[in-house]
Amino acid sequence: MARMKFLCDAERCIECNACVTACKNENEVPWGVNRRRVVTLNDGVPGEKSISVACMHCTDAPCAAVCPVDCFYTTDDGIVLHDKDLCIGCGYCFYACPFGAPQYPQQEAFGVRGKMDKCTFCAGGPTEDLADAEYAKYGANRVAEGKLPACAEMCSTKALLAGDGDMVADIYRERIMRRSGRPQTWGWDKAYGGGV
């Protein structure tokens, strides 16, 4: 059984935002909700590095640990999904998440947040696979079609890798060998409890 993971190669990321718009396009994510975004450190000075970040689909997901209604579940592929019918929009998962992944569609100062929305690894949700209802609520289910997330498939420099963790690690290791540099597996320790 595959264990799906994301890896963003900070040596290759050029902050082009293809992953962001690919996600918007594929899942019709509304304005103001960002399932994925690109973060740049040391912007404009030597040492500038960019990393594309979304839900990392953690092994022991902190969001699931804090959710009061237990709406999260992990698929056989290791993808962390949630049930919007159960979600009460409390926002605990947002505080628990080390990657800032959970998003909420409403932003009034004192209002409710609405149902949480986040990256699904393009694997839809708990409704029937590929049904129109699934798309409306969770977006695309590429995994059910045998494809990988649109963000990684369209990454301009192949910085963002997605897929079975072992294969991702193999691809990345080969690059590191070639470059003979230090690995920059940003976020892997936190998400999966270990490096490449």
Partner: protein
């Protein structure tokens, strides 16, 4: 309906309905900055209605654009319409609606990848911020009209102006966004209208490259390819920010880097590309020549040049050495600001890591000495022996998706398609291709005689038209000073953003002075709103490239075929449909479309149009790429190697992907295309080449032909001139020509086929001499090319590249200070040119502008560039919500020291004042990305003018989500001495708090 609430909101506020502050942003970066600046303005919008997310979600349930289960999916393949990398696009279409976009893993160019723009292309099929039907501005209000009325009203007015002032009083603008067929028809159309007053984006993008490079070694195009960069050992970027302008090229660049290639970036800014480089060098904007000469100083000093290569293949380097000798390290440091150690390190890295490639873009080209810059880059590469080798080359990244193709075969004011120029011979060649009488074409032109430059009088047919950089002067300049009968009285823009041209306030005045403004575009563009006109503006809804089929040329000269993804949206028509409608109105449709079938809805057949292009473009080898061959490549993309671009087996076996030009001879000849230009290590029949013999055979007693260098399998083992029938005859090769070829050659020479004897050997010498002048460029049979290549020779000859371009104002590139320079003390030593009375029909000022010192009142260097999310003038991309959300404010990057000196804080609103009176009100972004003394803005914004949001002037529902000041409202005068490229990369400004 989709996004309606959001649209309304976005149009009211600054466009921002931003999300929460993120936990990631521990430091200020560009996006945090933008998000914060957007927050206050956006808050009112967010609070005012349902959150936009809800609207979209509702739409996703009921809407017509979401993917539907159980509905059959058709796959259509196209090419991205943003930059020139040529990324393949795979569209999923259900019931005629573009419902999905998949990665094109088979494309050897992008291997499935996209940038932000490419990954959001589907919005072109579903977005609603389009001009939906023909409209005209009447009494300050936009009114819907029918296509018939639009064609009649515009046509009648144009005919009236033609009657009163001659055909030169309409100025036309074609497009680098059009496909090859549309661009070609734009050029052909104005020839039948009777003017050369047409131009397109290449003028303000790479015209100085095309002129400089073509005059150095033959063709003005990227010599290698993005993929070939895999073979480079060193990559030298100057004035190119590939990470934002050509993001997918970075995949190839970073692959090379991982293979050990060194990467040097020369740019005033620490760009996103520089962030990946081994060495970043910040030069003062506009000092490219001194910097390159500074590198060459070290190269010559240390003997790092490739002497044998220079001896065989380079002319005139000694004169360069004399100029370079003046640029000692201390002088270079004084002028460019770069210390000797950095210059030397760059030179040594290039010298020790060969082959190395040089990449440049608009940072190098957009200067009043742009042609000097581009030639200096070429000379650097020639000295190192880096041209004509895999992994080397001048990899000039072009801008728009088809700017290469539009330059090659499209709407240029200074040449007919395929760089034939405007001589009588050129017109006669194209008249033959078009199957019309030369005298008919001539009769369409104004019959006067005007100053073609330097006081030489000529017929308007032979005088380059007004370029896009100067169209405003065609309106504003006294007609007595123009080389044509009258001033420009009306303009017709098809696919061009006017906010990309300098001198905004002058442009506003020009637009207001015109009698009619026609804008044929998918979007209203800045042109429709920037003036205070209340009448006489027409908007014609025009298709994007995804609503039509046709061919397109990527930066590396590869031609790809686009399938139509969706039918034209709303009432849109394609470029060529619109041109056909006007040709009918003007009465030359039958002549113009004689050999081009007209399909349903008045669509000129793209296949027929391409075949006509094939029949005429012998100079650059656009002749072998028939629609059938291009479609075969489309079907078999996966069979091409991603480094060599060559098909390995399969139906395209041996071809290079997209048959990069020159693809010699007829399609039947099956030439594979030329991946790497001027590479003698391959036979010409397999894509090898020599340098072109374009500048004669000798100069001042010295041979210009190659010395001992020739391509593999060449039967001529030394330099040789370009091929003519006469040369073939001298070599005895003319007997290889087939009967059909001979008849065509005779026909071009005006000889009837019946006069030719059945055996050419028995022809009289008098007859043969009449055919001697027909050459590889004018032989419509392709026979001369075929025979030359059969003997292993390049049809265009085998010469040396030249470092001295004796026809140009500066034969050897020299430094001249920008017209608006921060170093006025250097003007005496490096002055600009004297004013010119007639260049491209207009007086052009140099010395009289530089005569005044502006550097005291405007001490900051002002330069501009790209953002990855937007393209060109930005109307299209700012109308795409997925992109617009990522960049919501026009801004200026300013160094902390300059900001503190002016009491400006990050995020504050400021005025940027230009020395010619234009001012723009924008946000300050304080960052060390720019050096002290230089400020930078993106150039994609429009829809604001000198502090005012022009939202009310857009037709309802067409305003882009994001609007902002056009940087060119504040840019200034300055044009290249050869091509009229605008000097937008170096001017001056002052910044003050708003």
């Amino acid at each position: 309906m989709k996004l309606i609430k959001k649209n309304a909101g976005a149009e009211k506020g600054s466009g921002s309905v931003s999300s929460f502050p993120s936990v990631f942003y521990t430091e200020m970066d560009r996006r945090t900055f933008l998000r914060r600046t957007g927050l206050t303005a956006g808050a009112a919008v967010v609070g005012s209605a349902m959150a936009p997310g809800m609207m979209r979600r509702a739409h996703a349930v009921e809407g017509t654009h979401a993917r539907k289960q159980g509905v059959p999916v058709e796959i259509r393949r196209s090419v991205c319409s943003h930059c020139s990398v040529g990324c393949g696009v795979v569209a999923e279409v259900q019931n005629g609606v573009w419902t999905g976009q998949e990665p094109d893993f088979d494309s050897p160019f992008n291997l499935g990848s996209h940038c932000a723009k490419g990954a959001s292309l589907r919005d072109h099929g579903i977005g609603e911020k389009r001009v939906k039907y023909p409209m005209k501005l009447e009494g300050g209000r936009w009114r819907r009209i029918s296509w018939d009325d639009a064609i009649t009203e515009i046509g009648d007015k144009f005919l009236q102006i033609r009657e009163e002032s001659g055909p030169d009083s309409i100025w036309w603008c074609g497009s680098s966004k059009a496909n090859n067929e549309g661009a070609y028809l734009q050029r052909k159309f104005v020839a039948f209208w009777g003017t050369n007053n047409i131009d397109h984006q290449a003028r303000i993008c790479h015209s100085t490259t095309v002129a400089g490079v073509a005059n150095t070694w033959g063709y003005g195009a990227m010599t290698n390819s993005f993929n070939d960069i895999h073979n480079a050992k060193c990559m030298f970027f100057i004035g190119s920010n590939a990470a934002e302008a050509h993001p997918v090229s970075m995949q190839h660049i970073l692959r090379a880097k991982e293979n050990g290639a060194k990467m040097i970036v020369v740019d005033p800014r620490f760009t996103r590309t520089a962030a990946h480089a081994d060495q970043h060098i910040s030069i003062r904007s506009g000092t490219d020549v001194p910097f390159i000469w500074g590198m060459l100083w070290h190269i010559f000093e240390n003997g790092w040049q490739d002497d044998e290569y220079i001896r065989q293949r380079v002319y005139g380097l000694n004169k360069v050495r004399e100029e370079v000798a003046r640029w000692t390290p201390d002088v270079v440091e004084d002028v460019t600001g770069v210390p000797e150690a950095q210059v030397r390190q760059a030179a040594q890295t290039m010298a020790e890591n060969r082959p190395g490639t040089i990449v440049w873009c608009m940072g190098g080209t957009q200067h009043h000495i742009g042609n000097n810059n581009t030639r200096a880059y070429c000379i650097l590469q020639l000295a190192l022996g880096n041209i004509g080798v895999s992994g080397g080359g001048a990899n000039i990244f072009r801008g728009h998706c088809n700017v290469q193709g539009a330059t090659d075969v499209g709407p240029n004011c200074h040449t007919l398609p395929a760089y034939y120029g405007l001589s009588e011979g050129a017109w006669r060649h194209w008249s033959r291709v078009w199957d019309v009488d030369f005298d008919y074409i001539k009769s369409r032109f104004d019959d006067g005689q005007y100053d073609a430059g330097g006081g030489k009088m000529s017929h308007p047919m032979h005088i380059p038209g007004i370029p896009v950089s100067r169209w405003i002067d065609g309106v504003l300049e006294d007609p007595a000073n123009q080389s044509q009968r009258d001033r420009t009285r009306a303009v017709f823009f098809q696919g061009h953003a006017v906010n990309s041209q300098s001198r905004g306030p002058d442009m506003k005045e020009a637009i207001e002075k015109l009698e009619m403004v026609v804008c044929s575009d998918p979007y209203p563009t800045h042109l429709a709103v920037m003036s205070e006109r209340t009448d006489g503006v027409y908007l014609l809804p025009t298709c994007t490239q995804f609503e039509q089929r046709g061919s397109i040329t990527a930066s590396n000269r590869s031609i790809q075929w686009r399938e139509k993804i969706v039918d034209p949206l709303f009432e849109s028509k394609t470029d060529s449909q619109i041109l056909y409608a006007f040709a009918q109105k003007f009465g030359f449709a039958d002549e113009m479309f004689k050999n081009i079938a007209i399909e349903e809805d008045g669509l000129p057949s793209p296949e027929d149009t391409l075949r006509e292009i094939n029949r005429g473009t012998w100079t650059i080898g656009y002749t072998g790429q028939s629609p059938e061959r291009l479609k075969l490549h489309l079907e078999n993309k996966h069979t091409f190697d991603t480094t060599t671009l060559r098909a390995v087996g399969g139906p395209c076996d041996g071809d290079y992907y997209g048959l990069p030009w020159p693809c010699w001879g007829t399609p039947e000849m099956k030439h594979p295309g030329t991946h790497v230009l001027y590479d003698p290590s391959q036979p010409v029949k397999d894509g090898g080449l020599t340098f072109r013999a374009r500048f004669g055979v000798e100069r001042e007693g010295e041979s210009l032909l190659a010395d001992g260098s020739y391509s593999v399998d060449s039967e001529l083992t030394d330099g040789y001139p370009e091929f003519t029938f006469g040369i073939l005859r001298q070599l005895g090769w003319h007997t290889d020509l087939s009967r059909e070829e001979l008849e065509v050659i005779a026909g071009v020479a005006g000889i009837n086929a019946s006069e030719l004897p059945s055996n050419i050997r028995t022809a009289s010498s008098e007859l043969l001499e009449r055919m001697d002048g027909i050459n590889w460029k004018t032989d419509l049979s392709g026979g001369i090319q075929r025979v030359a290549i059969d003997h292993g020779c390049a049809p265009f000859g085998n010469a040396k590249a030249r470092c001295e371009v004796w026809q140009f104002p500066d034969p050897i590139p020299v430094h001249r200070e920008p017209l608006y320079t921060p170093r006025y003390d250097l003007v005496a030593q490096y002055p600009t040119y004297d004013d010119v009375k007639a260049s491209y029909r207009l007086p052009t000022r140099y010395g009289s502008v530089q005569a005044e010192d502006y550097s005291k009142d405007f001490p900051l260097v002002f330069t501009s560039g790209r953002l990855v999310e937007y393209e060109g003038g930005g109307e299209e991309t700012r109308s795409n919500p997925w992109l617009a959300e990522l960049q919501q404010e026009m801004f200026v990057e300013i160094h902390p020291a300059d900001a503190n000196d002016r009491g400006i804080q990050d995020g504050q609103t400021v005025w940027l004042d230009g020395p010619e009176g234009g001012s723009i009100k924008i946000q300050a972004m304080v960052t060390e990305r720019v050096p002290r003394g230089t400020v930078w803005t993106p150039f994609h914004f429009g829809g604001h003018y000198q502090g005012e949001d022009l939202l009310d002037r857009y037709p309802e529902g067409t305003a882009p989500y994001v609007r902002g000041e056009a940087c060119n409202t504040a840019t200034t005068y300055g044009y290249d001495s050869v091509t009229q490229m605008q000097e937008t990369k170096t001017t001056l400004c002052q910044i003050r708090a708003a």
